[in-house]
Amino acid sequence: MHNLLNAATLFGIVGMAIKLAMPYLYAGLGELFDQAAGVFNLGTEGIMLVGAFSSFYVVYLTGNLGLGVLVAAGTGFLMAVLMALISITFKAPQGISGIGLTMFGTGLSSLLFKTILDGTVLSVPGFPDVPVPLLSKIPYIGDAFFNHNVMVYGAYLLVPVAALVLYKTTFGLKVRAVGQNPQAADTLGVNVNLIRYCCVCAGGILSGIAGATFTLANINMFQEKMTNGTGFIAVALVYFSGWKPQGVLAGALLFSFVNAFQLRMQVLGIEIPSDIAMMLPYLLTILTLVFVKSRDKPAALAVPYERSEN
């Protein structure tokens, strides 16, 4: 047990958690845009898997990491268009269409993996760590906070950007209004469905990138179903966040710390069945959903918009 308590181990967990928060941040902020506009997108997991495979394959072929991220964003966008079409234009129940999208994405990524790569697990060179000058030299802290790859930095940079868009722009105001009271927005000439399309597509792009973090910035290989429920945790995270970007940051860190902690416990061989340890983040997810009550919950969440007679 003493191993857990020394500084090196603790900062090791911190550094790992900082890195592990990356997919939660991309996917969580993406889902935040979906939900802020009133679309409940359970398809995140599927979008991530498609993003993960497509980016992996492109980098495997070309070795161009930037192109890989771009392709992940592109496939995420396409998957999102599908979601938007089903849930916004055709007004299908959002929960069901999201689950459908996840199953589709899971199946598609596995199929492509088996047919194109014969199901062989290969690895690619991922994004290298870029130490921040000076700051990374600080003992312990430097390694934990300032020695990561660009996709990690990008994830954290995205938090203030999302806040800026949501709270300081006319677009963000429309997004929040459309999620809360689409009728009100409509009477002021806001195109409700257009705003929702934009948000779902932005969410798809971010979720696609979240998938690429697995294949290009952390594990650097592709396996079937490798996102392992991260997409669903991202959905829960948005509830946890109280529908605010800073809340997503807090939630992502909480989940990644729990995750890093359980991983480290396994490595140290602490005698807790690994299954229980792996349940921890998901248990946290369920608890989150039980206790969240927020006025900022978009009142029109998961309700397709129709101009009614009343």
């Binding site: 006319t170 105001l173 429309k174 809360q180 009100a184 002021l188």
Partner: protein, 528 residues
């Protein structure tokens, strides 16, 4: 930001006409060649029953619906609106009956929503703030620009709606039942604002079914009935009786004769009750009230002052945090709806389509909903269909529910008929306690009159009725005593026959009975 004002059309609306407007919905002719005209500086009242087509007509003027026939003319030129944006650009603003405000945004954010910003993609709330303050100053509209909408009282929210429309350069304002949610005093203040706007050469269309208000405020009165224009005339020498007859199509009784009924015993006793809303905020505070058999106690109050939470806790749908609810001497504070039923209590819920009926059930199924597991409707878990049909048919006949047969889905009935069926179901059980929440909201005058008579008849059978209503006229017409609620607290109980509307208005605005009594002196008649 000044550029936002009517970017495409700087023309002032001197005259607006709607000519032969026709609008169909599947199975309904909502507007049938309707005509309307309003000039600058004028207040036009649009009068009609629920379902007469007033809102449909106005939604076409505001670009939310497209007319199937007819033309809209501004200054004698035909115009076409494909969306609210077109209408806003032409200088038309609309204040909806259910406010179109986003509750977790601030006042300024609500005003800025949908406007072009002077700073490109970024919000320019300081510019919006400056112009908002100018409008507030000009029309004497007081509101805190940084408050969240959910923090504001209904009257304040209405002012935000008006500012929103004026900010967008509205020349002509459509006001859909604007006084429904206001206290009598707030109505007076509101009328002052309307007159100020008319004096500033705005045109106003004021939708209402409250006759005395229409006569008080408008220059012209147009009446709609069953989707058709009945009349439009100057407001000179028009009486309430005339207007009511035009609106309904037959002479209408505006006051009821009440027989005196003996008070028999305490039936419902509410003691020190506290109830929270969904956000764990206290909405009913230390509320105490006794209702006796053979009386109707009206609970008056402006919408959103805890009536909803109170009604829900009295019917077992919401657990109180403190206090006691006694029905016929039984403690039902924490009991569910089933126990309330067993104790002889009936409940007419505020939202009839959500809490009163199952939309996709037919009439018989809805009728037996509460007592389906008891005789004579069922035995040993099996339905007795002949009994169900007989009982339902009798109730439908008794309460004049208009329906082709008992197998019609209840969602296909009009609001008035649904409400009559709910009333039949609740009164058929001959309850000793009746909680009636907004029993005639959205119901046409004919059906309202019928429901009122039934409630009065039930009173004479010895039922203790708590009538929760936002319609002060209804409360005054039916109640023996009137209790007033403000922010979840009881402001006092007064004798319905002696109290004036003005006194009730003061109490509804949060002044306790005893203080009102002090202000009014001898003129105030209150009982304890």
């Amino acid at each position: 930001m000044a550029l936002n004002q009517k970017p495409h059309m700087a023309q002032h609306i001197r005259k607006l006409q709607m000519v032969d407007i026709t609008k169909r919905f599947p199975g309904v002719l909502a507007n049938d060649r309707v005509n309307l005209e309003v000039n600058e500086g004028e207040i036009l009242a649009l009068l009609g029953e629920n379902g007469a087509g007033k809102s449909t007509l106005m939604k076409q003027l505001y670009g939310l619906y497209k007319p199937d026939g007819g033309t809209i003319k501004i200054n004698d030129e035909a115009v076409e609106f494909h969306s609210p944006t077109d209408a806003i650009n032409a200088g038309i603003g609309m204040i909806h009956q259910h406010f179109m405000l986003v509750s977790n945004l601030t006042v300024l954010e609500n005003i800025a929503l949908g406007l072009k910003s002077s700073r490109g993609p970024f919000l320019d709330l300081d510019v919006v703030r400056k112009k908002t303050m100018e409008i507030c100053e000009k029309y004497k509209l007081i509101v805190n620009p940084d408050a969240y909408i959910w923090q504001l009282a209904v009257g304040e929210q209405q002012r935000v709606e008006i500012i929103k429309a004026l900010y967008r350069g509205a020349d002509l304002l459509i006001l859909d039942e604007p006084t429904a949610v206001l206290t009598p005093q707030e109505v007076e203040e509101f009328f002052v604002i309307l007159k100020k706007m008319a004096a500033a050469n705005h045109s106003l269309i004021f939708i209402s079914h409250k006759l005395h208000e229409v006569i008080e405020i408008s220059d012209q009165i147009a009446v709609l009935r069953d989707g058709r224009s009945v009349s439009q005339e100057r407001n000179v020498n028009l009486t309430k009786t005339d207007l009511a007859e035009k609106m309904v199509g037959r002479p209408v009784v505006l006051q009821y004769e009440k027989d005196s009924c003996p008070n028999i015993g305490l039936r419902l006793s509410i003691q020190d009750l506290c109830v929270n809303n969904d956000w764990d905020e206290e909405r009913v505070s230390n509320f105490s009230l006794d209702v006796y058999g053979g009386e109707i106690v009206g609970l008056a109050g402006v919408s959103g002052n805890g009536q909803r939470e109170l009604a829900q806790s009295l019917s077992g749908l919401r657990k109180p945090t403190q206090g006691k609810i006694m029905v016929n001497g039984k403690d039902l504070t924490y009991a569910g709806p089933y126990e309330h039923n067993l104790a002889g209590q009936s409940y007419i819920p505020e939202e009839r389509n959500k809490e009163g009926i199952v939309k996709d059930f037919n009439i018989s199924e809805n009728f037996i909903l509460e007592d389906h597991d008891k005789e004579p409707y069922s035995r040993h878990s099996f339905f007795n269909f002949p009994n169900i049909t007989n009982k339902t048919q009798r109730a439908v006949d008794n309460f004049t529910v208009k329906t082709p047969n008992l197998n019609v889905m209840i969602k296909n009935l009009s609001g008035g008929n649904v409400q009559k069926l709910i009333l039949a179901r609740e009164l058929e059980r001959d309850p000793s306690v009746l909680i009636a929440a907004q029993p005639t909201r959205g119901v046409d005058i004919g059906a309202s009159e019928y429901i009122h008579r039934r409630l009065l008849a039930q009173r004479c059978k010895g039922t203790a009725t708590l009538l929760i209503s936002e319609d002060l006229d209804e409360i005054r017409a039916l109640s023996d005593r009137i209790a007033v609620i403000f922010e979840g607290r009881l402001m006092g109980v007064v004798d319905a026959a002696a109290v004036t509307t003005q006194q009730l208005g003061l109490m509804m605005a949060g002044i306790p009975r005893d203080e009102v009594k002090e202000q009014m002196g001898e003129a105030f008649a209150a009982i304890s």
